[in-house]
């Protein structure tokens, strides 16, 4: 398969903007959705729209089965030990907030420490800050090296007897560099410290085996991996999920409710209070199938590598451009490029290139600490998906040069 072959599954990719063909390079913010995903949402909305887990009628059974078979598929996809470890959420942010609250209630007290890295998305910083202010705990920050990578040796130094959890990103949404998560987890575990991995970007571009990785929590969003928006997954090791109190109270998450006291439903129901996004969750099935194809197909992977090599070379060879996140091993880089241009503001570049049909992200990308680290007010980011072609990459570089010439 080639990128050109799979483009036809995505109606949006044939659209035009300002009379120019759309070149969508903001995939790290949200991916486009294939027809199969939208067909699933629409089929379920029209023909299997019933609240799950409640009623005994046929429609409710069908809806429930759709959601539960999705859970089984996600379990297999992540190689998780049991379905009880797969909690549906509204996205990565919701997953991290759930852990920050419930893990915090169970395990964190005054003077304890949580470690995050400075390359985190705000979603993997702010929930921990809230937890720390609630519990009078301390947030410690892991620094990145000059290549934008996390160093396991640093983790070893930062861990103390008070460390309760480490939360790191699998792949940064700004740097696009795969972190040595396995090594960090191994070190953390020798100190008995669990690790949460933010997989918002990592899950899209890498196969994930949670048992092999041995992470204690892994979170990702559906909308970045071709599924309906408002869907997401939290994987958590059973022994942690069982020890954690519920995050939200409501219907579905209870066993019995009396005013004298309420007991909670077994996992994963305990963490799925209220009506779930039952029309959207099953869209993860066609989305994950598509993801699997992309991660298995040698031709597609080779094309991605070629794009990665071409764009990296083009950006690095221009002395006016500063590219952030250039790992020692090129295989650690995903096709996500954040950069600044000397003398040209990221917003000006994004506006001009928008008019050329190219969708880019400009600004702080929800990672202000990282912007401060590099001493910039913002960056320009091009993030590619498997459906982006090498021709698009070439057009992007040509337009970038044109835009820079207009501004500098």
């Amino acid at each position: 398969m080639t990128a050109a072959d799979i483009r036809s599954f995505f109606p949006a990719l044939s659209d035009s903007v300002y009379g120019k063909p759309l070149v969508y390079l903001d995939n790290a913010a949200t991916s486009q959705r294939p027809q199969s995903v939208m067909d699933t949402v629409s089929r379920l909305s029209l023909h299997a729209n019933a609240n799950i887990h409640r009623a005994v009628h046929a429609l409710a059974a069908k809806a429930t089965e759709e959601v539960e078979s999705t859970r089984e598929m996600v379990r297999q996809c992540l190689s998780a030990a049991s379905r009880e470890e797969i909690v549906f959420t509204s996205g990565t942010t919701a997953g991290i907030n759930l852990v920050a609250y419930a893990f915090g209630e169970a395990f964190v007290s005054e003077g304890d420490e949580i470690i995050v890295s400075e390359a985190e998305h705000h979603s993997n910083i702010v929930p921990w800050q809230l937890l720390c202010s609630r519990k009078k705990a301390i947030l410690k920050v892991l620094e990145i090296d000059e290549n934008g990578e996390l160093s396991p040796a640093q983790v070893e130094k930062l861990i103390s007897r008070r460390t309760k959890l480490i939360a790191i990103t699998h792949i940064s949404n700004v740097l696009g560099v795969e972190n040595p998560a396995r090594e960090i987890i191994r070190i953390a575990h020798t100190h008995g410290v669990p690790v949460l991995v933010d997989g918002a970007q990592g899950f899209v571009h890498r196969k994930v085996d949670v048992q092999d990785l041995d992470c204690d929590f892994y979170v990702f969003s559906g909308h970045k991996v071709y599924a309906a928006t408002g869907t997401g997954v939290l994987y958590g090791k059973k022994r942690y999920l069982e020890a954690m109190p519920p995050f939200m109270g409501g219907g579905e998450m209870i066993e019995t409710v009396r005013f004298s006291g309420t007991s909670f439903a077994p996992l994963p129901g305990k963490f799925e209070a209220g009506t779930q996004h039952f029309n959207g969750i099953p869209s993860l099935k066609p989305a994950l199938e598509f993801r699997q194809k992309c991660l298995d197909d040698k031709e597609l992977l080779a094309e991605q590598e070629a794009i990665c090599a071409f764009v990296t070379e083009a950006l690095l060879s221009d002395s006016r451009i500063r590219l952030y996140g250039v790992p020692r091993r090129t295989s650690d880089k995903i096709p996500l490029f954040s950069f600044t241009v000397e003398g040209a503001h990221h917003e000006d570049l994004a506006l001009i290139m928008d008019k050329m049909g190219i969708a880019l992200r400009s600004g702080q990308m929800c990672a202000e600490p990282l912007m401060d680290h590099y001493g910039v007010t913002g960056m320009l980011r091009a993030s590619f998906a498997p459906y982006n072609t090498l021709e698009e990459a070439k057009y992007f570089i040509a337009c970038l040069h044109k835009a820079i010439d207009m501004l500098v």
Binding site: A344, I352, S362, T377
Partner: protein, 257 residues
């Protein structure tokens, strides 16, 4: 050149460019020609919020006219600022405050800039307008003309009662600030007796309704604050009488119940 003529001139200049990139080229040129802005004026209070890029805007009133200077770190934004300055700098606050700024839409800038940029543009325009309103000079005859409006608006505020305490909100001391512009727009800064007052929305609606019912008043804007927090020392003399309060601490305590 009058304001209308100036705006027409700019709309015509832009109509020469059909392609978006040409419009941007033109804006970039305008941005480059913007006179330098002093570094010491790049302060937090001159920074306009709502822009992805940063914008500093300063105004000076000389001989009854407003003169703007500004800067941005992004060049297209600078171009837009340059347009705004070209049109509005050196005009009277009244002229600026009364303008609809529609020419921005006429040259297609508002719709075609990115949403965050459009917001930035809106913020810029709002700031220029606010500066114009703030610097409106009141002459003796203006003060005399506004006097009856103040009296009427205060009377209207006295019609609104606190749901808990049988005293109107004005005598309770909930109104921290009341201003009426020459365009007869009312601005009210008010508080509530407690931050979690469940009736707050209803009271706000009543205040607006009552004030806007005053003949001649065109608009009522209300802002809520809990800084400083309300306490009983803010009660008017009339309110004290109404509640039968003297300065005995025990009596103050009763109000809390």
């Amino acid at each position: 050149m009058t304001l209308a003529e100036k705006k027409a001139e700019i709309v015509e200049a832009f109509s020469l460019y059909e392609e978006w990139l040409d419009k941007y080229e033109y804006l970039i040129e305008l941005g480059k020609d913007l006179p330098p802005y002093p570094e010491e004026k790049k302060t937090e209070d001159r920074l306009i919020k709502g822009c992805q890029s940063r914008v500093w805007l300063d105004a000076e009133l000389r001989d009854g006219r407003l003169y703007f200077t500004a800067d941005s770190d992004a060049i297209i934004t600078k171009g837009i600022i340059s347009l705004l300055i070209d049109v509005y700098s050196g005009r009277t606050p009244k002229e600026i405050a009364g303008d609809d700024f529609a020419f921005i839409a006429d040259i297609g800038l508002k719709e075609n800039l990115s949403p965050t940029r459009a917001n930035g543009l809106v913020s810029m325009i709002e700031t220029i307008r606010q500066m114009a309103r703030d610097s409106e000079v009141l002459r003796a005859e203006d003060v005399a003309a506004l006097q009856p409006y103040y009296t009427a608006v205060i009377a209207a505020l006295k019609e609104v009662y606190d749901p808990e305490i049988p005293v109107n909100i004005y005598d309770l001391g909930l109104i921290y600030e009341l201003t009426i512009s020459k365009a007869h727009e009312v601005f009210i800064l008010m508080t509530f007796t407690a931050p979690n007052c469940p009736m707050a929305d209803q009271v706000l609606a009543e205040v607006r309704e009552s004030v806007e019912a005053v003949p001649g008043i065109t608009k009522c804007t209300i802002e809520m604050t809990f800084e400083p927090a309300w306490d009983k020392s803010m009660l008017s003399e009339e309110a004290r009488l109404e509640l039968g309060l003297d300065y005995d601490e025990d009596d103050y305590g009763k109000l809390d119940a």
